[in-house]
Symmetry: D2
Subunit: 396 residues, 4 copies
């Protein structure tokens, strides 16, 4: 693996010189900008520079970075909304690489993981369901897989499935025991897009437009998955979802951190170059307060992110640390971009600057991957358990 600092610099230059202009020109709309054609072109360029798939296993051509090392690279990529696609580190593929690397059989590694790391295919992760199914509360899972000869039949409806349109395969989460609300067991299935019975119904018209393949609503109707395509153990799905979620939250933070940094830099450049009321805007106290608050929010996001990454790299589940870092980051980065908007005045809500676009893309992060409310509920429950246990044990 090449030197990390050099990797960050190369990534940063690549994004600034080859990616950002495309992103800005198309207002961050990846379909308008070229969709998969653009992806292939940018990925080829990244491959040439040796910065492609920094997270991927080295056996398949990735750079094998651990979580702490990914942080600055993903942040640099995130300066453009299209940067993560260019490096093949975008959701949901990046999280699927992580999960497959953890749970796939040797055969599955070659059929699914290898082409995914190499950027030859795209994937999606089909977990979330419309109400009253699995949303914030995974135990409500309604999609069901029934055992049949040689495999399983999967039936259910999913939505907000990122990247579904154009995905080559799906990781589908389906109930294999128990009833909705009771917990029970879920299992992960690997299903190619050609499998009969998979239908992508529509793109849900979300405000963000930089995710290749959109956020889709889809149905699985008697979709046959062979036993060999069960990912990991039967009824182990909830556990694997957790394995995926912690790191996936952190890589989201890394990418959105990069986007927010760009908005902040654009805004600072704006106020440093304009006068009003006889002063440079950047020297007015209310601007300085917003700049300082942005610096604080960015630094705190980065600090919490790195703490959680180190815990993950050390082998921990880091449930509390990743929940805290994700919740703080989603809200802090939204504040950063909101202040950047305000600093840019009328241009901040226009396409003349990239800030409004970043604001639109980043807002859903407070909802996607667990709304702040659900994370706070988990954080509180863990804290109460830990503190009351310590107090019962004599501390306090």
């Amino acid at each position: 693996m090449r030197d990390l600092a050099e990797l960050v610099i190369t990534t940063d230059e690549f994004i600034r010189t080859e990616v950002i202009a495309i992103d800005d020109k198309h207002d961050g709309d990846i379909e308008l900008a070229g969709g998969d054609d653009l992806r292939l072109r940018l990925q080829a360029a990244a491959r040439d520079l040796g910065i492609f798939a920094p997270h991927g296993p080295t056996e398949f051509g990735g750079l094998g970075l651990n979580m702490e090392e990914r942080a600055p690279v993903f942040e640099a990529a995130g300066h453009s909304l299209f940067g993560p696609v260019a490096l093949n580190i975008n959701a949901p593929d990046e999280g699927n690489v992580h999960m497959l690397d953890h749970a796939a059989s040797e055969d599955q590694r070659h059929r699914f993981l290898a082409p995914l790391v190499r950027g030859e295919v795209r994937s999606a992760f089909a977990m979330t369901e419309p109400a009253p199914g699995a949303g914030s509360d995974p135990s409500a899972l309604l999609t069901r897989a029934t055992k049949v000869d040689g495999g399983w039949l999967v039936n259910g409806r999913k939505w907000f499935i990122t990247g579904a349109d154009g995905a080559d395969f799906f990781v589908v989460m389906a109930r294999t025991s128990g009833d909705p609300g009771d917990g029970g067991g879920a299992t992960m299935f690997l299903a190619t897009a050609q499998s009969p019975g998979i239908e992508v119904l529509r793109h849900i018209g979300t405000v963000d437009r930089s995710m290749l393949g959109g956020h889709c609503e889809m149905t699985f109707t008697d979709v046959f998955v062979a036993d060999a395509d069960v990912l990991g153990g039967v009824d182990e799905g909830f556990r694997y979802a957790q394995v995926r979620l912690g790191p996936a939250r952190m890589t989201h933070v890394m990418r959105w951190l990069g986007a927010a940094v760009r908005a902040h830099q654009v805004a600072v450049g704006h106020v440093a170059g304009r006068q009003a009321f006889g002063s440079r805007l950047a020297d007015l106290g209310m601007m300085q307060q917003q700049i300082a608050d942005n610096e604080i929010d960015l630094a705190a996001t980065r600090a919490l992110l790195l703490e959680a990454c180190r815990e993950l790299d050390g082998g921990g589940r880091a449930s509390q640390a990743t929940s805290i870092a994700k919740t703080f980051a989603a809200e802090a980065l939204d504040r950063v971009v909101d202040r950047a908007t305000q600093m840019c005045g009328g241009l901040g809500v226009s396409r003349d600057l990239p800030v409004a676009k970043i604001a639109r893309e980043i807002r859903p992060f407070r909802i996607y991957d667990g709304p702040s409310e659900v994370h706070r509920w988990s954080i509180s429950r863990r804290a109460v358990r830990a503190i009351t246990a310590a107090q019962a044990g004599g501390a306090g």
Copy 2:
């Protein structure tokens, strides 16, 4: 004039039964929804119901409501983004009616005000300029009018001119004495759209899409305005701008209050109809907190608005009261819609519900009509003057 409560009810029903569906269908994009054709159709319907032009002078067919009476009517209209257009109370026409009613000559009243109140024409208010011209700091005004025989020649560049595309006439603010930064004098000119030398260059691509005629960049090149079309006195423009701004801020608040109320109601309906973690969402404490905070923000907005309206109706300038109400409202309503977004989860950032659309439309209000920072600067200066004067006089 008919009874106010009845007027509010009729407006509310009209909006809900005839306007909202069009708005939702076209995601609040008024050009897509039909532009001026839609406007004429909706205005005809409102006229039939007797709720048209509630703010207009009765001599031209308006209902002659004062500011306090307008508040609930405009709020009801604001439930749809297209409601204010339907009642002919949208910016900038509504504020122009107010200013013309105050400053126009008898002849100008008939040529400009009357058709504007009747919805026969649209108008725009051309004040804001690109940096380093007049933005938050009006004294920086660069557009200049030079006296010539029988009139004036206006030259300058303007932007963020709401409704400019398709406007039948412009109220143009131009410097007639002094230099940028020194204050000096500005004058208001009435110029029909056909006047040679007026060019609408482009729609600035702002995030909001419900304003008929967009927010445009435009140039005035040797535009001749006859002496008879000077609005009010020469060099009195800054004063008239103030006359316009106070009430215009308040009617903005009324309309956006209606939009925020709708987002809140949609969100409450959403959480009242869904279950998670064994409970109705609306009964979960973190949802209750957001609902209560919305109720508080809406109530405080309404209370501040009404206080300022009463002061305006009593003949006061109400500079401090309208600055406070505008600043609080812009931020509070943005918070309300942000909480509504969060309450709706993934649907809150999608087109499946109208909340995301309202969020997009309402955000710029913290910048348009004076950014919060500039209002706070004014509010503080007035407060320091008042308090130090009282302390010097013995109080304190």
Copy 3:
């Protein structure tokens, strides 16, 4: 009744010239400043000026102001922590006057209400109990009254009973039917301090020190209350408590508004008189932001307060309006004083200025008279009921 504006001015002058110095000298500690002796001296001075008991029924010498009229008078009195005592409008006496005026028999009016309005006696309102009794949740009421011949025997423990030490009589709330948690019925009893079985155990050491008689813990042991001293109907206590609570919340807001205004004025005076970094502090943007935010919070508090007062004066229960105004005010005024502290720098946390003292006194208002959390819970429930009912009825 004299002219309201004049009453406000007289009150303001009286507070500034005769009360504030005593308050500042003793750091707002009313016991140190003289306790009931001070009260009698100040009340005599207020009586001489004709500003005494502005809320009291005129038949007993009060000025008979309605809620809206009280607002500016109570605010002016609140500029000093001892001002409300001086005018005899402090909690809990002021709220007890209101409740007795509403519910007392003719005989009770003369024995209890008249001397209370005249300042001849002090009273307390004994409702709150230690856990698991009646706190935020009144239905948990544990204190019980048992019917005996000619009256009732009251048994229970109360705490946070404001003004208990030195009170001449108590309004005691006790359960007369049902069980804790089930609701059932409570009754209000009037018990003189000399009644055998009443014991004031201790002053709870709260951070605030301006309440005459402190916040006490006390027990009622077989306290006999004659039938003639039942206040209103048996089992009607919960309803009367509501009658008391709405207006009592608003008069709290009025008084604390006055205190926060003083902190704000002191802070503005401070930053207007000092230089740093080559500028008057009051002209630095971060100071201007805090000054403006204070102005906004004060204006919004006043506007919400007046709306609720008008609703109460119109005969409404105003449950939602008073909950909203109380919750907003308690938090807004705390913010105002916190900003004032920050504006004064090191002096803001010292006794050299009155700001730290006001901060200490005002903080508990976010907890007393219903913590913000409980008010938000009520506000949300009412909102959900109202909005879902309207939606079921076709609106929305």
Copy 4:
């Protein structure tokens, strides 16, 4: 040096078993609790346990911890307001140890540093002056030292000098060149308390009461300091002040972090043990939100603190990192304690729980050691410089 984890555990147990009860009994008032007698008793106990002076140079009996290692030890000590005194790591002595270790001559190390590390003497740092002297703006320094034969004569007035009453020596900052406002040069002088001309005028009555020796106002009148007692180079004082300030900010954060953690733990214990509205308080959503927000604020404080400590340990000045960590921490910890107050209801503002006491002690940290406003001003200026330089260099 002993194992760090063990050191933390021993410290934690010591604080919980031997220090906290004394602190709680005297409401955190260190003079009431015994003043210097208490200090000597607690320090002897800490010495016996081998946890004394963890920051001190090992040559004088300290444990020689670097900044990152200090963090968990100081946090554990901070659980009690008297813990830092017990370990001899309280302000201002702890910061003076750091500065003397950096700048003292060999002779000064033995006369001043050694007894300070051993707890034989106390010290103070005399920098801050009343307006218009050195406060937030050090360049305003008014106290002046004039060269005389064999030494210097120091004249000036200082205030908010922590620990001055009872200090055995002072580090005094005085102007030795230039004029107030122009910058120029300052020098640090070491002056024993017995030096003629040093007078401690009064304790400023600040809200906090846990600092031994108070925050005092004092005068220096023709105080003679021998050349041998100049600390470091003449005119190097501003630079040394910076050397002291960065680490001193971080150790403040460590100690206050411990105090806030205790308030949080007490509050969680409170809500975990009480019922209302048919539920354990700790299971109500609005409580969970406050618990989660506390966990987030505490984690972010710790993460920012450790990042800054690592930068300092690496030899950096860490000006931006320590400013950011200090500003965030002061505000976050204040929020934590405020939420803890709210969670405890009426008890939260009483002496029955330690939360109110901690709230009172922690509030000034947003002002002491640089108010948040001044830190934000510095943070913004550094950010604007860095970002505009990068943009000029082609990035952005």
